[in-house]
């Protein structure tokens, strides 16, 4: 074995911030079992907390969950975009994706617009699937490679 073996680049750091702390823990565990990234659970979805933790951990991607329940105002698309903007200010290369619950077609226009305006890098509707996460991880890895070259 050569001492000068080329090292593999470290796996991307994936910060997960879901609407509730227990779902954040569950999602982080799920990501760790899936492999391909180093998950970080952001238990508070307060804007300052998310920004601080992502910056401290130098996250490569951030998964933010929305909550469209009636009466919940601080977990909608625009509030999550607000967090995305602040995270990008600290980490311009961090990729940000929204995980949204299904059954709210009225939110689609805002989600499309947020992706079009590059406030977020993408979104998914319904439960997070393995395939979707792998696509996002691939995008992140590709982006990191481009930055290095």
């Amino acid at each position: 074995m050569s001492l000068f073996r080329r090292r593999e680049p470290p796996l991307p750091k994936a910060a997960v911030c879901f609407a509730l702390p227990f779902s954040t823990r569950r999602a982080a565990d799920w990501l760790r079992n899936l492999g391909g990234c180093r998950p970080i659970g952001v238990l508070s979805d307060d804007c300052d907390d998310v920004v601080w933790q992502c910056a401290a951990e130098q996250a490569d991607l951030l998964l933010l969950e929305t909550d469209f329940t009636e009466g919940v105002e601080d977990k909608d698309v625009s509030a999550r975009c607000d967090i995305a903007v602040e995270v990008r200010r600290k980490l311009p290369d961090c990729r940000i994706y929204l995980v949204c619950e299904d059954g709210h077609p009225e939110k689609l226009a805002a989600l499309e617009k947020a992706a079009e305006l590059k406030l977020i890098d993408g979104y998914c509707l319904g439960s997070l699937t393995v395939q979707q996460v792998l696509i996002w991880l691939n995008e992140t890895t590709k982006r990191r490679k481009e930055e290095r070259t």
């Binding site: 698309v77 625009s78 903007v85 226009a109 617009k113 947020a114 305006l117 590059k118 406030l119």
Partner: protein
């Protein structure tokens, strides 16, 4: 305020308007179904809910037909305004409110 702040603030405003509000950007992309009242996307010809034929007029056209608007930026202005409070453009004298023919 930096260029980044201005750009993102404008982008966020557009997202918020699409989610909740009725600014010109949102109104231009919406048509109201005359049958059930549902707001549809402006590129649709039939209502997504009841299938009724949608009018050509977007919500923005309807809004403009009922208010005196600045020809430059499109915001609604009062009947006595001489300059647009939003963009500062001089408003035409005779462009008082036109009643909608709806």
């Amino acid at each position: 305020m930096t260029d980044y702040d201005l750009r993102t603030r404008k982008a966020l405003r557009q997202v918020t308007l699409l989610e909740y509000g009725c600014g010109p950007e949102t109104l231009r992309r919406r048509k109201i179904c005359p049958n059930c009242g549902k707001a549809n996307s402006a590129d649709r010809t039939d209502c997504a809910d009841c299938g009724a034929r949608l009018p050509e007029m977007t919500l923005y056209d309807l809004y403009r037909s009922r208010h005196r608007c600045c020809p430059g930026c499109g915001v609604a202005v009062t009947d006595v305004a001489r300059y647009c409070p939003e963009c500062g453009a001089r408003l035409p004298k005779g462009a008082a409110r036109q009643e909608a023919a709806v």
